[in-house]
Symmetry: C2
Subunit: 281 residues, 2 copies
């Protein structure tokens, strides 16, 4: 199995889980010299593998305008090299952001055709679509996973990390974007890795699975757990308005994956605490 982005946050959790299960894993990651723009190197590395987990991408939802074309170029290189070396199975990490401003909660994979609201979501739906078209054209099996926001050891981004950094500087006062009531069905990265493994058992040409928690928590909840973990009690100052594209609610309908036997094993609270502990002290 080849894992692009295997040195990334979700990639590391997946690679560990694959190794635990006895799979032979090759990591292809820019951090270790695996450039997806280098089709020759990718071809030499991919040769002999049966499955590609294509996780390489940029994790930041807000800033991706100039990354749209490069990210899709990577995906197309992966697909073209798969053709050349004869790999016929691909798993892809997409995002709940592709549901844009959906009004359907929990959101199923076949909710009404959404309008995209972020370049990040646009780049993911573009890559999903190209992968699906290749799977159709060449009779491959493609499995697309749409992740809710992921937490876990090694996730040094996002609002939790921002809160943590600020509280290290000033444990008495914390500014919260918006009203603190935005809800998310955060999922633990280890549960995501399980989902990726279970999704491999699918047999259709194109399979799409939501991956998120059935629970939700608010920004206020997660800040509370963080403060508890740090032993601080800051005054919370709400800005009232959040960043453009911030959503009130992310909650995915994960019935498709649950039917295959998957369910989150780590609560959102524990996912937050594990994440926070990995920040250090």
């Amino acid at each position: 199995m080849l894992v692009t982005g295997g040195e990334g946050f979700v990639g590391r959790h997946l690679v560990n889980r694959l190794a635990e299960c006895g799979h032979e894993v090759t990591v292809y990651d820019l951090a270790t010299g695996g450039d997806l723009m280098d089709s020759q190197h990718l071809k030499a590395t991919m040769s002999g593998h049966d499955i590609v987990f294509h996780l390489a991408g940029y994790a930041d939802v807000r800033m991706a305008g100039n990354l749209f074309v490069p990210v899709l170029t990577w995906t197309q290189h992966v697909l073209e090299v798969m053709r050349e070396v004869g790999v016929r199975r691909i798993a892809f990490s997409s995002t709940s952001a592709v549901y844009g401003d959906t009004a359907v909660f929990p959101t199923p994979e076949d909710c009404p055709f959404p309008v995209q609201t972020s370049v990040y979501g646009a780049s993911k739906i573009a890559a999903e679509s190209l992968i699906a078209a290749y799977a159709r054209a060449f009779d491959w099996r493609a499995t697309i996973f749409r992740f809710a926001p992921v937490l876990g050891e090694g996730y040094h981004k996002g609002h939790l990390y921002d809160f943590w950094r600020k509280l290290k500087q000033d444990p008495m006062r914390i500014e919260v974007l918006g009203d603190g009531q935005q809800r998310r069905s955060y999922i633990y990265a280890g549960d995501v890795a399980d989902a990726l493994l279970i999704g491999l058992n699918t047999v259709r040409q194109v399979n799409v699975f939501n991956v998120g928690h059935h629970q939700t928590c608010t920004v206020d909840d997660s800040l509370g757990w963080l403060c508890e973990s740090l032993g601080v009690e800051p005054e919370r100052v709400y800005t009232g308005t959040s960043w453009a594209g911030d959503k009130r609610l992310t909650l995915l309908d994960c019935t498709r994956l649950q039917v295959l036997g998957w369910t989150p094993r780590v609560s959102i609270r524990d996912a937050v605490l594990r994440t926070v502990r990995s920040f250090g002290t």
Copy 2:
């Protein structure tokens, strides 16, 4: 108004209609030196315009694998140059192919989230998505039109043109891919131009409109009208299987556009006859 791809098939019909309505139109087309990869030239040309009709693309549905990234690079250049010069309205020509294997007919714009089945559809949904994300980010107005297969003067591609060429060589016998019963709600390019003009009056950040005929015809029907026009009566030989990705039915629900006053003025039969007459004799 700036029209990218203004020398293309739909582009010419639109430019004519815009001129009839008294609009000042600038055509930006590779055929007349307007390269969308040349951002500096695009910037100089776009400056001073209020609306961009972004029609430039590749019309062939079946072969577009290696064009995916270039087409999206064009679209991103258009959007970035709009930002730079301050244009805040864009209309985009997408396709019914984005509905993939939908089971809903007539297909509305918000049908269940489809899986893509062609690289052409994938490239269009990718561009739609990027445009929508920019419109959201910068508070522009974007109008996306999903065209059913378009016919009209100047369309020298597709099955009608193939039939015509073959009948010129052998008027006694014609091979038909599939069983001749594939149905399409072909739309006349002049009616598409009307739709593009009417869609300009929309006020939401992102507007999506289907553009197709409420009638359908089969491949056999259109072949019949072609033969009638040519005065030939060939034996029809059906291959039984068609090309991969060929659909049994394309039929769009165009209620959204009809509510704004649009309706096709040219029947499918007349659209076929006008197309055929433009092939020459």
